[in-house]
Amino acid sequence: MSLAKTYEAPIADKRWKTRKFVADYGVYIALLILLLVGAVLTPKLYSVDTIAVVMRQASQLGIVAIGQTLVLLVAGLDLSVGGIFIMTSVVVAEVGNGRNEMVIPAIATAMALGALVGLGNGLLVTKRRVPPFVATLGMLVLVKGATQAYTRGVPGGFVPDVLGIVNQSWSFLSIPLILWLGLNAIFIFVLRGTSYGRKVYAVGSNIEAARLSGLPVDAIRISVYILGSLFAVASGVVLTGYVLYVDRFIGSGLDLDSIAAAVVGGTAFVGGRGGLLGTIAGVLIIQILSTMVVLLGLDVEVQFIIKGLVILGAVTLYSVANVES
């Protein structure tokens, strides 16, 4: 009788540790299981060609997902990235207009405009206290609309050929993949090893405590929205180089996928929790699943169903795991 009581506390403790383990490592275990399932169901997944395709697509999604993760970490959300892809594509074609020497000014122009969008998002969220969902949704519509008004629905100009360099690859290694991994390396370090990263987590974790600790909370949030837009420009450039023409629907779906990747990877909507390693795993899970659907010869619609289930499953798991102690 008394024995049973003595063991009450350790059991509660163990349950909590399991939850913590799921929250911290669940996504990596899920990725591992997916890779094992893939080996059985779709062995083709492990061919060099398939890996190269998966990695290229993962890079396109992954670059914008870095920015999205940063924004989510400060308890924000960026829906405007979809507009930035299209804007980037149009700007690169208009400014570059087929001239290879203009590719740097073209990208610089896209980045400047992207930064402005991010600044707008940041100012709306901080100074006007507009909820991030609404602010960035409005910005998405504005940027899309402005781009269409500018092109009058018929995008002109030509993408400089030199941008095709992003299609360069060596076995499964490609320029987008190198860019994705490089940017991840830099920003994983920024988040973990610099005071800026600390402040990002602090602001996302508890904005009032951050303000009372003397942090410039508005400046930090604005800077993160600007970074988020710049990552979207980078993804947009890679996407434009991949197709080498102006596409009004470029990157469609990647905007919401970038949120999904971060959330599946364990970055919390409430901010302050998560990070880029998880997002990398989230990106890979989404991309591998999509590829497996294709390899299995299933309809593309199935992709969405599976993607939806994965997102809902991940969110459910995290919400159970993060039940307030």
Binding site: D13, R198, N206, L212, S213, G214
Partner: protein, 503 residues
Amino acid sequence: MSEYILEMRNISKSFAGVQALKEVSIRCKPGLVYGLVGENGAGKSTLMKILAGAYRADAGEIVYKGAIRDQASTAEIIDSGISIIYQELALVRQMSVAENIFLGREPRNRLGILNLGELYDRAGELLKRLGIRLNLRLPVSELTIAQQQLVEIAKALSQNADLIVMDEPSAILAGSELDQLFRIIESLKLQGVTVIYISHRLEEVFRIADEVTILKDGELVATRPIGELDRATLVEFMVGRPLDEVFPQTEHEQGELVLVAEDVSTDTILAGVSLELYAGEILGIAGMVGSGRTELARALFGADPLTGGSIKLAGGGEARWGSPAQAINAGLALVPEDRKTHGLFTALSVRINVTIPILSSLTRLGVLKRAAEEAVVRGAQERLSIVMSSSDQETQFLSGGNQQKVVLAKWLSTDPAVIILDEPTRGVDVGAKFEIYKLMRQLNDRGIAIVMISSELPEIIGMSDRILVMNDGRIAGELAREEAGEARIIELATMGGSEAALT
């Protein structure tokens, strides 16, 4: 059927490995008032939340009206006759008094349409039974906090409650309002209703309770009929040591003037507050909740903008600050009242929490110097004896006392000249409380000036060198330690506005 309406037997509960309750048992007979006392963090609220069905006990059983109660929903528990009135009142502010009382159980006619006439009649009867005079049609938002609490009691009675739990009702009530509450409790007793009255104010317990149960650190210390207790014994039960050992004293001369606030007013509630603060002293700020104590702390720290007046550092001349960042640079620190929402990054590690205000001194070109950072954390851990598994531990998994120490460590790392402590020992266990008091004295010895806001009068009287009593956004009076008694402080804190202005 047994003579007890409620028996909670050997209730245990732990959160994330922290034992909040350990085999606690209480029993209640109908028509009596039971005092449940203990320091903050003793487990009183946890026990009541288990009774309310908000938490599930890890072990133990609840016998209610002669039957073992299984896990039940809140609605089922209310139906069974248990009502709990929490400190945070759960009223719909836009609705009228009567509508709130019958919320969700409004009388309807055969067509399912609201019968407003009956609603107001029945609400009126209820209030009459309680001896409460209130305008039934007034929206709750127009009522004072005390009146709102009366509405909660009426609501509990309308649910035919046989057992009413009141969680620290006096925390938000002043003198005459408290008298009214006690009269109501007496009449509830006569109607056979059992009342569990949670409080840490001893006078009230002696005044109203028939039997007292004392909890400490999640364990049952004693249950005694009120006649067998005196004040000193009760205090010793609660804190585990005689009262005069609780507050460490040091003798020291009044130091130099460090900070002067003149006529400080804000948009919030402050209306012309002036104070002087001297090195090495503890200036206690007393007053009811809502009297402007927390607002004063925020104004001093630059967290709320001033609409009038000035705050100056004695040494540095004019140093008016418009933001916490500037206040920190000027040598101020604020340990806020609400640790979880204003003080702590609960999802982040101890290390991040402690070093966040001094990051610039721990970086080179923005890159963190790990060794220097770790040294700061280790120093803080030793100095404050913070119990943690590692500096990577998330602060949400620390006990209340250790969380408070982390917040203190964070501010000590900035090497401040003035520390404002808003309810420094709220939700902190007794052991840690004593350590925090000792730390405050050590800081005094180093010349640091402390402003301490507290609702706990023994703490205010035991620790302060001088006491300012706030009332309605003003300073109602200043008391030297020698002349301060609980009665005098309460008097100043509860005077009407005009009287306060005269002092």
